[in-house]
Symmetry: C2
Subunit: 485 residues, 2 copies
């Protein structure tokens, strides 16, 4: 009788940081779920798999025992190990996604339709000249963060597993209150600090707690596009208010939407234009909010990355009417995938926000919060920000110098006193979308300023410089400059 033909060996995934046992377990599962090992088929023998993969017989036995415990395979003494009946993967479930997604647009809410038509999901942003909004994560002290994480999981890991308070871990709220007092002159009690996942979550929460549906809110025009979507998603009617060299034009806002219940403003560094709110505008805005009973959402955007000296104190530090909610994020100061941000609430709103947050997504990841508290308390956040300010200032200087050397007039270039990007304005005769398309052909990614406009006639490009070294910035500037002259 001829010997049974040798069963084909399964491919063994490697290099994913999995243990050998886990890799074998996964290889078998993949083959079963994908139908390469159908129900009833015999698994290659442990001896054969061990020989094929050059691993110990014990490791293979362990992996197969785990499959057996999962009910995925059945061992029959003397006969071998057989694949149990498991559901096949539905065939090509994703193939018709694009067409189907288009069809389903008739089936989703109106604002979703508008939002997805305007802002299709792009690829995850990666550092390249001049993609904006990315900090230099290579400069982040990862080894230190790893040590702090290990220490926290070792010393208080078990205490961190259960539910945490909706407003955040007390240690982080205290650490952040201290940090804000020192770095931003904002005196607040730790109880006023609420930890959230992102500034947009803060906007969403604030809009739904503070406003009735259909009420109006001022937003800066141009502004961060996600802000418009988030407010629309919360049922708020956003009204664009122009921004000039002195920041938000408060008088224009009063004329356009005098009864707006909320104002979103980024006084330290306006996104995307980079201007700061002038002192007389600050006073006007605070007076108006107090008189009208409007709320101010102050996004302290890029204040921790002020490159030319200390930025002015936040509105929340001078407000006496209890109408300012102060927002900030750790996305740029620490790293983007941490997903931690904050709101400093007027004391009267604390209980209400806690009650609402507890019912929505409860709280933010607790281990991340605990490690961040230690990072701040150990003085590492302040030290990291000092290093990043020096690094980004040098990069900004290199970019601006290269643009100047290659003939881009200084008056075209917006303020770059804070943050990670600079706006370059273009004459009307050269529409920014066309220039951005030509730049892309030259291998340079730039975002047209008009993309950020609500109704404002802005025309220019946004150049991010934070995540690239000076040489890369200079090289890209050389390629871009001819389009800007």
């Amino acid at each position: 009788m001829p010997r049974e033909p040798r069963a084909p060996t399964l491919p063994l995934p490697r290099g994913d940081g999995l243990s050998l046992r886990a890799a074998i377990h996964r290889a078998c599962l993949d083959a079963i779920v994908a139908g390469r090992l159908p129900a009833g088929s015999r698994l290659p023998s442990a001896r054969q798999l061990a020989a094929d993969w050059r691993v110990s017989r014990n490791t293979v036995d362990d992996a197969i025992a785990a499959l057996q415990a999962d009910g995925v395979v059945v061992r029959r003494v003397g006969a071998g190990t057989f694949v149990a009946s498991v559901p096949p993967r539905r065939k090509a479930a994703m193939r018709e996604t694009t067409a189907a997604a288009r069809a389903v647009l008739h089936d989703v809410s109106r604002w979703t339709r508008r939002t997805t038509e305007r802002d299709a999901p792009g690829a995850v942003p990666r550092p390249q000249a001049f993609v904006a909004g990315l900090p230099d994560v290579d400069a982040f002290p990862l080894a230190l963060w790893r040590r702090l994480t290990a220490a926290r999981l070792r010393t208080s890991g078990r205490d961190l597993l259960g539910y945490a308070p909706p407003a955040g871990l007390p240690a982080l709220r205290s650490a952040l209150a201290r940090h804000l007092a020192l770095s931003r002159g904002l005196a607040c009690a730790p109880e006023q600090v609420m930890i959230v996942n992102s500034t947009m979550q803060a906007v969403d929460l604030a809009a739904r707690v503070l406003l009735e549906r259909g009420e109006r809110a001022w937003i800066e025009d141009p502004c961060y596009p996600n802000l418009r979507s988030t407010l629309a998603m919360a049922g708020v009617r956003a009204v664009g208010v122009p921004v000039d060299a002195a920041g938000l034009d408060v008088a224009a806002g009063c004329a356009r939407a005098p009864r707006a219940a909320l104002v979103h403003v980024s006084p330290a560094c306006q996104y995307p234009l980079g201007v700061a709110l002038a002192p007389e505008r600050r006073r006007l805005l605070l007076d108006r909010a107090a008189a009208r009973g409007a709320w101010i959402l102050e996004d302290d955007y890029q204040a921790d990355l002020a490159l030319d000296g200390r930025p002015p104190a936040p509105l929340a530090a001078v407000d006496r009417s209890g109408r300012v909610l102060h927002l900030g994020t750790f996305t740029n100061a620490v790293y983007p995938s941490l997903r931690l941000a904050w709101i400093v609430l007027p004391a009267a709103l604390v209980t209400t926000f806690e009650a609402v947050r507890a019912q929505l997504d409860h709280h933010s990841n607790a281990v991340a919060q605990a490690v961040l508290a230690d990072f701040i308390d150990g003085g590492h956040l302040a030290a990291h920000l000092r290093r990043m300010r020096a690094l980004y200032a040098a990069r900004r200087d290199a970019l601006l110098a290269a643009l100047a050397r290659h003939g881009v007039p200084a008056e075209r270039i917006g303020p770059a006193h804070a943050g990670m990007h600079v706006a370059v304005h273009l004459p009307r005769s050269r529409p920014d979308r066309a220039v951005a398309a030509r730049a892309a052909e030259a291998g340079v990614a730039v975002m047209p300023l008009s993309r950020y406009a609500v109704a404002a006639r802005v025309n220019g490009l946004l150049l991010g410089y934070a995540a690239l070294d000076e040489r890369a910035l200079t090289l890209a500037a050389v390629r871009l400059a001819p389009l800007l002259r």
Copy 2:
């Protein structure tokens, strides 16, 4: 000349897992921010502090250098180190919170007012008899989790710092798709899996993407209270549909709100009653959704903790109309503070949900996702769930045996085939809130079932047993039983 009086030593916080240098840094900051060391005052000398605290002079010097770098203290050669001008903490900012929070209720949105009046934020839940909704985190393999975390940060930490895809890390989406295929018979492509922070975030997202404001949704009555708040917050009008021994009464739903655009249902284990949706009801519900073009949000609550054999397949596994969104959470299967959950989306909705999520809070914490992917791929999730099912089954059995021994009639006790709690029904003559109050006097925490009702006349108690050992459960049952007979 008498010597200058010795400056009082600052209290040195210890035992918080901080390094000595960080503890000193924090002690000084605390004293400065709290005003105990006012601006202009001289810091005790480094030599004196080192002697007082019995630490090395170098450590103190390092901490003071960090304060100096922060601009908090100024060193004057020959004169000493002085506190710079920093803003004082606003006095007793939180003292009037309660009164002010009451006043501010006239200032927040109507649904916020209703929500916070109904559900004031309670304390963070801790294990005690019979608090429901807490898994036994002491049984979680924390040492293993710590090793997986360290390995991930070591091998791919830098890659995990930047933005991640809005739907989640590919590794986790794949691992979860495999896990759901094997454990729940749900065949889906990894691309259909979206990682979110909580099932309530999933409900919020789905309601806002799929429904226009003011549209109706069925919810089970009684149900999880946060579900009502979340739907209200999303602008949806929730209609309670009664639950009987066969689960959601689909016919009653059709009579009450025939044109509902969405149905929220927990077919495996209804919260809080513990019943499963009967086969004929499942068919009726799927047919109705397909005929009406309604969406089904299937919360696969407690299916992974089925204690008496395999639960029926989820609705999403048998649906052919592409109208079922399948939700689940890692809160009980892994641990609560992880804040990770999932939606399995019909293929046609994937792109739309990605676009919306990207604009709201972007994505969930990436390191947590990566570690969880390894936990699942290594077979550890399946193994942990096997252990927890055995543990919880034994605890359930101990509780039910103790109640029976102490005279609680078996017909009063609801099904307990899955999960972490059981409902005990009471005769109308004994209102559950009164019984719960008497139980609290006896030192036993129980939740009245009427708290979960929309309009249903449920009367009973919810007893959680997952986080307590059999002895504690038995002792508490002895104290509670006289109130239930």
